[in-house]
């Protein structure tokens, strides 16, 4: 039976003529698990919010949405609140009470549920989500992943029939995101709840869902089972970035339509094994060196003088607190894209705080061009020598438009006015230069924030989790932009959880663990040997095409045409 029926839905935001949704038809069966994929601004979130009238934006609506056969706007408020659950991106702002138990009970409090039922429901959900151990905690003590699980549980206590999630893991690290997806799958299979989720992290979701819907320009462009999605590759190659790695490799170098498209790493491996066995020419160019960088290249790199260096740095925030950095070594050369990877709490962010001279380590040295970075006065050190961009770039904007914001920096550093245009062009800011920082997308804001930092020409640019929440389409553009920056001579140090991105664009990688660097080198050097902490492509190719860590490398090795 259809739980949700969308018929020829269109939507226009007030003040524009552009249709945010056009002619959307979609039927969602009861108990199904649906993924909506597509670039930012394609109408995913708008569509999702139309299914939850309480928070649907105002505007002109055409067509109709039915929930269990009734027009969705006609649902009584109480029923709508309980039966349609909605989870948003940012867990921090969705949680509104100070205690875990109170947050869990919030929805039921609103419904005026009696005390006994409330108790039972809250207990049930705490059990289902494994929340008992932190049931009495303050919300502020939870990790990001726990917070988002709490948001999910706080919706599930009302026993919704339909669960809507709008990019729920965009603020989470990959491990927490994986756990979140597993919980979604459990809700779907064990409770039978219908789930519709929009998400950029499609790699992990594809194997879990029943149906994938691709959206583009406000309309549905394709929908079908995950396995059938390999088909869209020939008609819309730009969606390659959204498909799981195994499927991308399969679709871009396989003419054999008789085999089923692989979805997971396991399926990808068995497909690749057959493929490589089948064609003799499929030898990876660098197989001979075992995935290692040729020695000459290494020596040449070593000979280059490091621009910024960290030597055996120890750091902690308070005297009695534990060490966050325990003898961390790093060296960054001029004009390179240097990525710092590692799990949560490995000390990545702290490392850039120490390396940029924001915080002074209590042991070890931080050298800039061979001299201690602290010998440069702070007014010269921060801004002109190094610059740091933290997560949530919105925080660094105070003015009404991007141009004013940049102008203020030009004035402060007494730069020539033409510098603004120069940087605006480099960061492709043209169309948004006069927009308000709160009106532009996350990706655009990220670019504007970087532009702001670039104005005084820092030699090293530190970016903390800059790819967080970016969609696959924008990531590619962002990667190219960073490469352009590096080509101009700026060294970029990027902290990221995103192994895929680092493998694709970094010159060098450092892997952080427990306050120190445990591996440093080119992406291939660091990632090809790892069996778990590596890209999906690396996992697929391990032992079959040694040394390949990106989908494009696999595709190239098989003689296919690499994707942009």
């Amino acid at each position: 039976m259809a739980l949700v029926e969308i018929q020829n839905l269109s939507f226009t935001y007030p003040g524009t003529d552009r249709l945010a949704l056009t002619g959307v038809d979609l039927t969602v069966r009861e108990g199904s698990f649906v993924l909506i994929a597509g670039p930012s601004g394609c109408g995913k979130s708008t569509l999702l919010r139309r299914l939850k009238p309480a928070i649907a934006p105002y505007g002109r609506v055409g067509g109709a949405v039915f929930f269990e056969g009734e027009p969705i706007e006609a649902l009584p408020e109480r029923r709508q609140a309980a039966e349609i659950g909605f989870v948003m991106q940012d867990p921090e702002m969705q949680i509104m009470t100070d205690k875990v138990w109170h947050e869990l009970a919030f929805g039921l409090e609103n419904l005026g549920t009696d005390q006994r039922t409330m108790r039972v429901r809250v207990a049930e959900m705490a059990n289902f989500f494994g929340i008992q151990s932190w049931y009495n905690k303050n919300v502020s003590e939870l990790s990001g992943g726990q917070k988002q699980l709490l948001c999910l549980a706080a919706v599930m206590v009302m026993q919704p029939k339909l669960l809507l999630l709008d990019e729920p893991t965009s603020q989470l690290d990959p491990i927490a995101a994986g756990e979140f997806f597993d919980t979604l799958k459990r809700i779907n299979t064990e409770l039978g709840t219908t789930i519709i989720v929009t998400e950029h992290r499609t790699e992990a979701l594809f194997p879990l869902v029943d149906e994938v819907v691709f959206m583009r320009g406000g309309g549905i462009f394709y929908s079908g089972t995950p396995r059938s999605c390999a088909k869209i590759f020939s008609t819309a190659p730009e969606f390659a970035a959204v498909l799981p790695t195994a499927m991308t490799c399969f679709a871009s170098c396989s003419g054999d339509n008789e085999t089923e498209a692989p979805l997971t790493v396991r399926e990808g491996r068995s497909w690749l094994e057959k493929r490589v066995g089948a064609c003799e020419t499929a030898l990876f160019p660098e197989t001979s060196s075992g995935g290692k960088v040729p020695r000459a290249e290494k020596a040449e790199y070593k000979a280059k003088k490091p621009l910024l260096e960290m030597r055996e740095v120890y750091f902690r925030y308070e005297r009695s607190a534990p060490d966050i950095l325990k003898g961390a070594d790093l060296s960054v050369r001029e004009g390179e894209l240097f990525c710092i990877m590692g799990g949560n709490g490995a000390g990545k962010t702290t490392a850039i705080m120490a390396a940029s001279g924001l915080y002074r380590p209590y042991r070890g040295k931080v050298l800039f061009e061979g001299k201690s970075i602290f010998s440069i006065p702070e007014t010269k050190r921060l801004g002109e020598t190094v610059a740091v961009l933290f997560q949530n770039p919105r925080l660094s904007f105070v003015k009404d438009s991007i141009r004013e914001e940049l102008n203020a920096v030009v004035k402060r550093f007494k730069l020539e006015p033409s510098r603004l245009d120069e940087v605006a062009e480099l960061m492709e800011l043209g169309p948004i230069l006069d927009s308000n920082p709160y009106d532009i997308s996350g990706g655009e804001l990220q670019r504007a924030a970087i532009a702001k930092l670039l104005l005084p020409r820092p030699r090293v640019l530190f970016l903390d989790e800059a790819t967080k929440g970016m969609d696959a389409f924008f990531k590619a553009r962002f990667g190219a932009l960073l490469r352009k920056l590096c080509a101009e001579g700026t060294a970029v140090v990027l902290v990221s959880h995103d192994i895929e991105f680092c493998a694709e664009y970094a010159d060098r990688l450092a892997m952080f663990f427990d306050g120190g660097v445990i591996a440093e080198g080119t992406p291939r050097d660091v990632l090809a040997g790892n069996s778990f902490y590596t890209t999906a492509a690396g996992r697929i190719a391990r032992g079959i095409l040694p040394g390949a860590v990106t989908a494009n490398e696999i595709i190239a090795a098989l003689g296919g045409k690499p994707n942009e």
Binding site: D90, M96, T379, L382, E384, L389, R394, S396, F397, F413
Partner: protein, 301 residues
């Protein structure tokens, strides 16, 4: 909140309504009844409990806060209050009277008692309990308190992040110039406010999505009312009634001015004092009872 883990106090686990009534009784009686014996009893009960609750930390609180306040009150009263008939000596033409010294001492004791009870209240009444209590009376007020408890620390943290982000961009180079510092602080505040307003949209959506605004709203009770709560509540109620009666019949009457006068220590007075002491010592008695029980349990193992 650290004391939630270190706390093994039995009274802290009774229903907050009962606990609240107890504190209200202890505080109001300590303020109304200036009889030195009664204030002494109340001070003693509050002190013992505070030590049980906070352990060694209670010393610090006493030395740093309670004692100075008491000493100051005891000294200042005779200096400014010259009532009373028994003049002891003159200090720069100002009479210092026995009555005002006694009154100063009694007020000091009373203030110390009230502060000590508040310290106990602070240790026992966690945010959870306050939210629960207000939830019984006004569900929306309780939600506001709970939200304040969440968002005030969150905003403080965010302000720190903004300041750091500004420093990282070189726009907040620590300067000694006080005007520059103030301007930089204002920018941080402005960014914080914008962020808060912008994020509140998400919060509002999250509330609406979960049916906020439907009627009637009911608060989730994280506390039960069990038989022990009934027993403790009954004991406190009986104590309130008896003490109230005794006070109404002027059993505890005391006069400071013009001359200090206590009534005789009649058997009725002693009985009433015993009742008062018993009620105020309920938390201590419960604590000791539990401690003894555990000792016995352990010795059997």
């Amino acid at each position: 909140m650290a004391y939630e883990t270190e706390q093994r106090d039995s009274f802290s686990t009774v229903n907050p309504i009962i606990a609240f009534v107890f504190f209200a009784f202890a505080l109001i009686m300590s303020m109304l009844l200036m009889h030195p014996v009664l204030t002494g009893i109340s001070f003693f009960a509050a002190l013992v409990w505070l030590f049980l609750l906070r352990g060694r930390k209670a010393f610090g609180l006493l030395l740093k806060f309670v004692l100075p306040v008491m000493i100051l009150t005891a000294i200042l009263n005779p200096l400014f209050n010259h009532g009373g008939v028994t003049i002891l000596f003159y200090l720069r033409y100002n009479p210092i009277t026995l009555e005002s010294i006694i009154y100063g001492a009694a007020s000091a004791l009373m203030l110390g008692t009230v502060i000590t009870w508040f310290a106990c209240f602070n240790a026992v009444f966690t945010a959870d309990k306050i939210v629960y209590l207000t939830g019984r009376l006004a569900p929306s007020l309780s939600l506001i308190i709970s939200m304040a408890l969440r968002f005030v620390p969150l905003f403080t943290k965010q302000a720190g992040r903004i300041a750091l982000a500004r420093r990282g961009a070189g726009s907040d180079a620590s300067s000694r110039n006080i005007f520059k510092k103030a301007r930089s602080g204002l920018s941080t505040l402005s960014a914080l406010i914008t962020w808060a307003l912008e994020s509140s949209v998400t919060t509002a959506d999250s509330m609406r999505a979960r049916g906020y605004g439907l009627h009637p709203r009911r608060s989730f009770a994280n506390y039960r009312f069990d038989s022990r709560d009934a027993a403790v509540g009954g004991a406190i109620a009986a104590g309130i009634l008896l003490t109230g009666l005794a006070a109404a019949f002027r059993v505890f009457s005391v006069r400071f001015f013009p001359s200090f006068q206590l009534n005789d220590f009649s058997p009725l007075f002693i009985a009433a004092c015993a009742v008062y002491a018993l009620v105020l010592l309920i938390p201590t008695i419960m604590y000791l009872e539990e401690a003894v029980k555990w000792r016995l349990l352990r010795s059997k193992i």
